[in-house]
Symmetry: C2
Subunit: 342 residues, 2 copies
């Protein structure tokens, strides 16, 4: 997929010239000191992710630009999932073998920069080292808005209560379809798919957008006279895993309504649609638990969002996820995500 | 050196049990959300480092506890080098092959926690993944004090001026001696070394301490009526590299006084003493450029600190480091540090 880029290798450049080149992706002078200096006016959110070649991305299916974009987007999505409405920026640790071509690294940083600057952030700093495989270690930072009384308006997994409605901010499964297309998975009959769906699925997989806009909508739709209480997480590990995580942390049970599964209409006929909607992962939408008036106001004003179920009291059997009114339907797994150490 | 620890491997545990075990090193509930929430009352400093097995540490010479301690200390030292007087905490990205024994990882996190808690910080969060080699990606965060008028009291490399004195906060070279002992370097005649020196060198290499105490002393000794202007960096890449970095960023020339080299008296007789003092690296002291009254007050009140030279106007030949009054003496290199991509 990605043609081998030409140009000097990292070993040709050496560490100091590499750092000079990487500094060009940050504001002038940003890389001059031992660390980055930020102004920070209130509560701060910080999140770190590592993305390893062969585990989280593959040079065969993902171009350098998309590796950078997706790495930034995954971290920024965690900021949105905590209630941030934008990003201050991120630091990047780059590890790569000396033979790695500079044009690949350049493309990664162009992608990182494009994604973070779209959200108002900058490249704050970082580090680089040789190593056996390509790897990005990202830390993202964001400010959290405060209420007029000064309380941080955070979204926490643990803040759900029985009676809350579960809302997701968009359809699920499209990113997994994009991955299947890139990996040329055999069970996928590509020739039966409309070209427009193929393009949307690839776009969704390669260029996910953190849902800061959904956090803005959530804030705008808070019913007057209510206090801030929002439970939530992002759906990077899959929709079912996100609902189960909120339920587990909140000491509740999440009931998913099978008739309200947030399938993308264009992929509803696919045999894998339901499985990928529930467990495909990497859609980077938000899953929220809200009091019904707030939930209803949000889905009315945020296109693509929908009520998908509700939180109810836990039953004591340790099962945090179930179908609403359909006890015989097999449950989606709630383990979430990939097993990175097997 | 480090016996192979027994116990389950990371593949035996699986990712979710591993995360549960790692969460025990952080405050209760800290790992429950997509990201960590901090209260942050002013300017913030953030720094990231990656430490790769075979490049930055070796299982043969460094026990897990020391890998963790040194990784935390290197990042915290960057906070001190920016003027922080302590740490809020750090995030840790862990990458390791599935066969890695859990007891090694546990020892690393015990070391990380011991170092960061000693400076008032906590483990804020992180991520983990399988990968081809062991690796830690650390991001450290610290608050920066402000002046009464609200200005951040940062230490920047670029703030030096001709006429400033260069001060370092402690002797240099001991960490490199510790490394030579651990690596059993042939040219080192260990049997001629006093046992007390051996122990101090190993301690210095394995358990470096970020010099937040020196930043406190610097702040206490600021002459009355002067405004905040401190140039500096830490000496992680070597003393000569630190002085050259300040000079380069400040558009000056650093003159090192050969008669004031900060050798540790106990290693002054070693053939390598001067080379290791100037270029050994990883002593994690601070090198500062200060107006003479401030420099003199600091060295008078901070045991172990010393004036080692001065900044003068640049000469336009691009050479940022020279000996004071000894033009024929060979210059130490100012490239600094190791070449990680060769």
């Amino acid at each position: 997929m990605a043609a081998a880029p030409e140009g000097p290798s990292l070993a040709d450049l050496g560490e100091w010239q590499l750092i000079d080149r990487l500094a060009a992706f940050a504001p002038a002078g940003q890389f001059d000191d031992d660390a980055a200096l930020l102004t920070c006016g209130g509560p701060l959110v910080v999140t770190s992710d590592v993305l390893v070649e062969g585990v989280h991305f593959s040079d065969a299916t993902t171009a350098g630009f998309d590796v950078g974009w997706r790495a930034a987007a995954a971290n920024l999505s965690d900021l949105a999932a905590m209630g941030c409405t934008g990003a201050l920026g991120l630091t990047v640790g780059l590890v790569a073998p000396g033979a790695t071509p500079w044009p690949w690294v350049e493309a990664v940083y162009i992608g990182l920069q494009a994604c973070v600057e779209r959200q108002g952030g900058v490249l704050l700093g970082g580090d680089c080292s040789g190593g056996a495989q390509r790897l990005l270690a990202i830390t993202a930072l964001g400010n959290l808005p405060r209420s007029t009384s000064g309380e941080p308006q955070a979204i926490r997994r643990r803040d759900g209560r029985p009676g809350d409605l579960l809302v997701c901010t968009g359809p699920h499964g499209l990113s997994r379809l994009g991955l299947a297309l890139l990996q040329q998975e055999e069970q996928l009959e590509r020739r039966h798919l409309p070209q427009a769906l193929i393009e949307r699925a690839l776009e969704r997989h390669q260029r996910p957008c953190p849902r800061f806009d959904a956090v803005q909508a959530l804030r705008c739709q808070q019913p007057k006279g209510t206090s801030w209480r929002v439970a939530g997480t992002d759906s990077s590990d899959g929709l079912a895993a996100a609902a189960a995580a909120i339920a587990r942390s909140s000491g509740c049970r999440a009931l998913l309504d099978h008739r309200r599964l947030p399938l993308d209409p264009a992929m509803a006929n696919l045999a894998q649609a339901e499985a990928w909607c529930l467990g495909g992962g990497e859609d980077f939408e938000l899953v929220l638990a809200l009091e019904p008036p707030w939930a209803e106001a949000l889905v009315q004003h945020l296109p693509g969002s929908a009520v998908i179920g509700a939180l109810v009291a836990a039953t004591g059997d340790g099962q945090h996820l179930a179908w609403l009114g359909e006890q015989d339907r097999p449950l989606p797994g709630d383990g979430g995500g990939y097993e990175h150490f097997s």
